[in-house]
Structures are given as structure tokens and as C-alpha cells.
Symmetry: D2
Subunit: 135 residues, 4 copies
């Protein structure tokens, strides 16, 4: 069960759609990222500060399960939470839902902590760990 | 082992990059789609014709493993192949490599055959099946 | 002077940035579109309803003047207004500003009213005209 | 009349389309950028080298005229050329055409030479000037 949960609301844009008349599958990752960065701001470790501190957090694995189509102008929400923060990795799981509460898409995104100086995977600073962990 | 393999070449664009200085993780799905559509054209069942025939093929699952960063102006190639075509689903696996032959990213994309009339999952027409299957 | 003004707030995403460390110039059009569609919802003629009514409104001209760079996580706002609604054309002008009130970018976007049946430019229905015009 | 002309070929992707069934207007800028960067490589001053040399070239103005719709899987070409290279500015004009030779879109993109150290507009180094200018 994820901890440190947060909710991100958005509206599907016209540019998100494709000629099938639904949000194109490549656009979901951008919204899950926005939700994830909001989650981190809420927890108190904004990604902007992490980068200033000399860390990068590249995505190393992404799993998306598309359950229902999303449509132009639809208001959707994403519930994100941290499922695992172990060693040099952070796993963020999220569920995108429509107004009716139906699951539109789920995601499991794995990020790595990487030192911007060495370019190597590293453990997160104690401060980040204490704020993100709690699991 | 995938069959019906095909190769798609591309060059990382400036718009693909993010402030980490690498291709943003959300942009890979677009290239894997281009590679998949080229694969289908090569096999002889172009996605454009599939749509004209009353079928849609939405992505229902996407798994991406990012192995090495990709950089602006780098020339990359994607090897795509069909791993499974069973009932209403098609699984396309692909490997993105750089000029040195190193794996940049791998993907496993599952698509569904959906009737544009009923909106329901369906089996592909015999012609498509015969061209895509061969497994 | 534009009438029917409206304000749209957004936050620059990580995916919006490029390796120059700023929002890539190709991403502004998407935000100006979101602002324009919000303006139309505010006025009472949502683009979703316009499409259902058998009209499309393709962009036929876009002029963007980039004044200051926009950065990841920056909160920006767009003020949009209708400058001209004459015959088969609608001109929407907008200004993107940062928190300090500085102009980040201005846009002048011309859209055409096109019948989805004939594919030809047409005049807007009286209802749309009365709500959008007022100039 | 532009000099240093070059041609860039591409194919409209599925992700480029929107629910109007055509290439979304925000996607053209990315293709014009690809064409422009190819033009610069052809001339012998690749953008990658310009950045390494301490310069950035942000877009400061973009004008796009959409003439005909572009469709999924359509093969298009962009003819780009340098129209002006004066002081700290470079103007690149381009025409996008379909296979029938019809104009799909035209663009006039103004870029600035900016020092990455000072962040200020500057004149281009003599080498770049000699290769780009010739007007």
C-alpha cells in the first residue's frame, strides 16, 4: 500500500487526442510525471530542489495499464503514492480515474537516484530518505 | 523469439530532450509506435488500412525499460518484432540501440483489436491474422 | 482591444523543458490552446459543443513572440481574449506572464470555422456569433 | 530568396494526429526544427557544435501559416532556407509540401544568437557567419 499519497487533477487537452478520438497512449506518462512531481512537492522534497542538490532522478522503468479511454475535455484525477524507496530506487504507483471513479489507467514508475557529478546510481541523502520513506 | 522483424532508424531531436540533457522518458513511446507502424507496413497490413477496415488497435499495456540515456542528434535504431498474436491481442516487443549497438531501451507493447462499430474487443480478420501470425 | 477575456494558470512541466534548460518553443502552442479552450468554455461556447454541432475550428495561422524564457516548475498565467470574429475567422490574442508580471510570450492565433460535412470554411451559427462577437 | 536550401523528408505519425483526424497544429514546429537542424548540419555548422562552442540559439519568433491539412502516414517534405543572418538574428523560412507538391504549411522562424555564459544576445562567431551568411 503506497504511503505519502497525493491527488493531481487535470483536464484532457485537444492536443492530447489522436484520430481514434481518445487521449493518445504516449501522453499519459507526462501526466503521471506531473502527478509525481506534485506528490514530491507536497511531501516537501520538490524535484527542483533535488536537482539543485546535485541529484538527478531518471525514470528507469515504466509500466502502464490502459483500462478505459480518456476523452477531450474530460476531467481526470491521478492518485499517486510511493510504494518503495530502497537503495538507489524509488517506485511510484498511481491510478488515473474519471469523474465516475472508474480506473482509466494505472502506472508503476521506477526512478533511480543518480549523482549528477559521477553519473552513477547512488543512495539518496538522509533528508530525502526520511521524507520519502516512512514505509 | 519475435517474428516479422523490422528496423526503424531515427535521430533524437532537440524537442525530445529535457533539462537533464537527455531524451525525456515520455518521448520513447512515440518512436516505438513509429517503429511498430513501419513493421506493419513492411508485413503488408498497414495501420491505415486496418482503420479503414473498421478496426482500431489501442495500446492496452506498455512496459518500457530504460537502459542507457539517449542524446540530442544521436542516431538510434529500433528492432521490432511480433511476439504474440492470440485472440484479440497483439504483443510487439522492440529494442532501441545506439550506433555502438548498446541497448538504450526495450519495450513490450500490447495492443487490442477493437471493432470501431461495437467498441468491443474482437478477433482480427483472417487476412491480418495470416500476415501477422506466423508464430 | 480583445473582449471576452479569461485567465488560464499552469505550471511548466519537466517534459516541457529541453536541454537548454527552458521550456521548448514547440510547447507554448499547447498551452495557448488550453487557455483558448478555457476562454471559450467561460464564454459559454465550449469547443466540445462546437464540434458536436458539426463545426471544426482548425488553426490557420499562428504567430508567437518569445520574450523571456520559461523554466521548470514556474507558475505562469495566460490572459486570452478575442480580437476579431469576422466572417469565417476568429482571432484570439494572448499574453503569457510569469509571477513577476513579465511578459514571457505573446500569441496571435487565427482559427477558421469549417463545416465538418462540406469541409469548407463557413460562417459560425448565430448563437456562437452572438457569444463570441460583442466587439 | 533563401540561400543554403535543404530538404527534409518525414512521415506524419499517429501521435501527431488529433481527433479532427489531422496533424495537430502544435506538432509542426517540431518538424520545422528537425528540418532546420538538418539544414545546419548540411551547411556544416551543426547545432550540436554551436552549443558546444558556448552559444545557444533560442527561437524568438515563430510564424506559421497552415494551408492544407496533413494526415496520418502522409509523406511530407520541408524545404528550408536561410533568409537573413544579420547581427544577433537568424531567419529561417521553410515550406512544407505533400507528395502532390501542394503547400501544407509555411514557416518563418527567427532565432537569436545568445552567449551561454552571459545569457545575452551576441553576434555569431566568424566561422558560423561565413557558413550561414552568403546572402
Amino acid at each position: 500500500m503506497p504511503v505519502n499519497q497525493d491527488i493531481f487533477n487535470f483536464r484532457v487537452t485537444y492536443a492530447d487526442t489522436d484520430q481514434m478520438g481518445v487521449m493518445h497512449h504516449s501522453n499519459y506518462l507526462r501526466y503521471f510525471e506531473m502527478a509525481r512531481h506534485k506528490l514530491m512537492r507536497t511531501i516537501g522534497v520538490s524535484y527542483a530542489e533535488i536537482e539543485k542538490g546535485g541529484l538527478a532522478m531518471p525514470v528507469i522503468r515504466a509500466l502502464l495499464d490502459y483500462k478505459k479511454t480518456a476523452h477531450y475535455d474530460q476531467e481526470l484525477k491521478i492518485e499517486s503514492g510511493i510504494s518503495l524507496n530502497k537503495g538507489p530506487r524509488l517506485l511510484v504507483e498511481a491510478v488515473m480515474r474519471n469523474k465516475a471513479g472508474e480506473v482509466v489507467c494505472t502506472s508503476a514508475i521506477t526512478l533511480a537516484y543518480v549523482s549528477k557529478i559521477t553519473g552513477k546510481a547512488c543512495r539518496p541523502p538522509a533528508l530525502i530518505k526520511s521524507k520519502l520513506l516512512n514505509i
